[in-house]
Symmetry: C2
């Protein structure tokens, strides 16, 4: 019986390592994980994988912000959702055994950790708990979709924009004298996509929000007074 107690866990450096789907990997499976594990730095607007590409593995966002886009046949693309550190991307494609049907793009300088497909398969065989964690992520994705559908039907666009900015501020915001500030990591078009509205409408929604709330927005500089 070999002793694996001195083998480092690759997720040890990430803040959320105990939430990582790879956290249960230990013992003989750990070297498999380490061997395949790859940390990829991404520049702003760099593409991680394209729509239609074969799935080559499972990615975990280590830092930064990744945008998941759907590209239409006419060349237009639409931002579907954001993936924050700790989130897994590409697992739908992995689990379904199909090509990616979305594109992943870094919205700010980011880092993702990749585990190639065949390593994932080997690990799943040895550490069934990992499959349990993957299933949890599926459930989260389902819940997120449901919440999105409900929010779209019941909340006004101003409320939803406010919610979205609040979530972004929690992650990207820095405290300062007059409240909380951030540099918006999204274009107006991307913001509009996320809310499922037209850019012109977003422009008006933003204007409305400036009047009715504690937000000040100038270009991509966002300030929440308070």
């Amino acid at each position: 019986m070999r002793d694996y107690s001195d083998v480092q866990h690759p997720c040890g450096n990430c803040d959320f390592h105990d939430q990582s789907i790879w956290q249960p990997v230990s013992g003989a499976a750990l070297p498999i994980l380490n061997r395949g594990f790859d940390r990829l730095p991404l520049e702003t607007s760099q593409i991680l994988f394209e729509q239609g590409e074969e799935n080559s593995g499972v990615y975990c966002v280590s830092r930064g912000l990744i945008g998941i886009r759907s590209c239409q046949d006419d060349g237009k693309s639409t931002l579907l959702r954001l993936a924050y550190p700790g989130e897994i991307i590409g697992f739908r494609s992995f689990m379904a055994g199909q090509p990616h049907h979305t594109e992943a793009q870094a919205l700010i300088p980011s880092r993702v950790c990749k585990v190639p497909r065949h390593s994932v398969r080997q690990i799943l065989n040895r550490s069934p708990e990992v499959l349990g964690r993957l299933a949890d992520r599926c459930i989260q994705e389902i819940d997120r979709s449901h919440a999105h559908i409900i929010a779209a039907a019941t909340r006004s666009n101003t409320e939803r924009l406010s919610d979205l900015l609040g979530r972004l501020l929690q992650i990207h915001g820095r405290d300062c004298a007059d409240g909380k500030r951030m540099y918006l990591p999204l274009s107006r078009i991307d913001l509009a996509d996320l809310l499922g509205i037209r850019p012109e409408t977003l422009s008006r929604v933003v204007a409305r929000l400036l009047n009715d709330s504690a937000y000040s927005i100038c270009g991509r500089e966002v300030l929440l007074r308070g």
Copy 2:
């Protein structure tokens, strides 16, 4: 080594038995499945489980049609989706280990097969392929949600109603001299919920559909001429 080759599989009677998530169960796990397996007949509008109830197992729709509703705090309920034969319900709650946050109700006389929670756990331990099939259902649910979001954003209500009726006709429709007929298993309010619009609007959408398409609708009698 006991011989299990003469043990019947409980899903053998269903048309879709090879698609059943329990199909991979065999050998020593089969008696566990059989022991817990319970066929429940449901009358129209009978409740299978309520929102907030503890999860007591996983259900598979054997025949009929089950409506999944979300009940608001003010007592109003909203039909979220339909579950057809072969679909699994209650698995989100099972996998998350949380109470149901939707309600399941038979829309027509139906039958569901229940496998209690502890049996599912035992089976998952012995037949990991079942977990794979469960994961597939998760993926399907995610895809369905995405399709729903996209359809809501890009298609008109008339188109979406037409799509919905088409799907219902495929399952509940019977061929007759002048086309395809069915008795609509849903109230107008439920139809409106599924499309995410108000009942008054649905009424007008139906009126529009009667003019522009091959549908004739009178009360709950639907005819697709052709």
